[in-house]
Subunit: 250 residues, 2 copies
């Protein structure tokens, strides 16, 4: 197991931002000001084609740190954020670009490609969680959540199904097949976002993935608008969801 | 037009609760501590078979007062809370009780009966709003919201469609026919709650009423559980929705 190495640190508005590596995996950890007790941890994934510091990531992370006093960690997915690409990555990205340029459906390309990425990403997330829990301000045995939309839902569903340390999750904006089979095994509280007029993911398909989760407590948030128009207030809602389920540490 | 008369006043936790009448209509107004400027107003309806001080009403009202610093007014619906019942009321209540005792579907009874109540209730709400806006702490021209589930959605949809002073609304837990025709004319921001496993309202029917609203900004919150199991955190979400749309006065 690789341990976590911090490589850079900045601080603003009471939030500490630290770049780190766990072996080959680059990540960033947003934390409340030091000197507090241990606090819960939210693992957050980025969407396809972006990276750990894509503007939505620090935006969502800072809300969770400010609202709840939790830690939030993001890692670059395989093939993303300057990480080396496999032959599969290069081929699938080229196919996707052609489909998008031609106005063809992207689901048949995105789904299998993101599941390929997920197979590589799940062990990386588990190693990262091991390393993060060695930090004294996080610790082993504390509450852990997962927050990921789009590709980060394709990674997060198999991760959460395999990882009993994660006890609450926010997912959304992905296709049901074949992930709904894995989602059935998930029983932790879920908040699930979909866009009512998603031009890529059919409305019934989105509802089908929400329906699949085995959780007794799950909430669907459907907003009018296209795939990329998820309202910003959903990030506030996610922060409150984690606050309720991982415990208010602030 | 009848003016508003206060008949009782109590205060706790920084919230002032005043019973009032507007003509024959009894109501209650929850307000922030006096001495502030004018604040927005949320009109809140109670469900069928309950009344203006049914526990959910002060619970939801106090959250909105505390979170947003707004006023919240509830009035007893026709035939509810000790108000006189018409022959229609007596007959429909008896029919509904028999259906519930026999385990028969209640929709075919509740929908026409609640629309009958709505015809009587809409002019009462408009008269109450006129009278409330004469209070110096509310005033004319300020932001007004509407918050009502179950029967209060059956009343609220025709009210909001007719009343341009109302600029944001929370609805939910009702059947689409024939209300969705009226909902199409509503274009203000909407938050809409439904229960994923509602034993009275079919899931597709609930989604159909959400779909009907003409609003560009509308959000569906669907939670796992039966008709009466709407989670309490939806009341917090409604308070934040009104805070966003009516302006933070606190």
């Amino acid at each position: 197991m690789s341990s976590l190495k911090f490589t850079a640190e900045t601080s603003s508005d009471g939030v500490v931002e630290r770049d780190f590596t766990v072996g080959e995996i680059p990540g960033v950890l947003w934390s409340p000001a030091p000197g507090r007790d241990r606090a819960p941890l939210v693992l957050m994934g980025h969407g396809g084609g972006t990276h750990k510091k894509w503007p939505a990531m620090p935006g969502r992370a800072r809300r969770i740190v400010a609202e709840c006093g939790f830690h939030v960690a993001v890692i670059d997915a395989p093939g993303h954020g300057g990480r080396p690409r496999t032959e599969t990555d290069e081929r699938e990205i080229a196919v996707m670009k052609r489909a998008m340029a031609a106005g063809e459906p992207v689901g048949p390309i995105v789904v299998p490609y993101n599941l390929d990425i997920a197979e590589r990403a799940v062990p990386e997330w588990r190693a990262t969680l091991d390393a993060l829990q060695e930090l004294p301000e996080i610790g082993a045995g504390g509450p852990v959540g997962y927050y990921g939309l789009n590709m980060a839902t394709a990674i997060g569903i198999p991760l959460v199904a395999a990882e009993p340390r994660i006890t609450a999750a926010v997912f959304g904006l992905f296709w049901p097949h074949p992930l709904s089979e894995t989602a059935k095994r998930i029983t932790i509280p879920i908040e699930f976002a979909l866009q009512w007029d998603d031009e890529h993911i059919d409305r019934q398909a989105g509802l089908e993935l929400f329906e699949a989760f085995g959780s007794k407590e799950k909430t669907l948030h459907a907003n009018v608008g296209a795939h990329k128009d998820l309202p910003r207030f959903e990030a506030d809602s996610a922060a409150r969801f984690f606050g309720r389920h991982l415990g208010q540490a602030a």
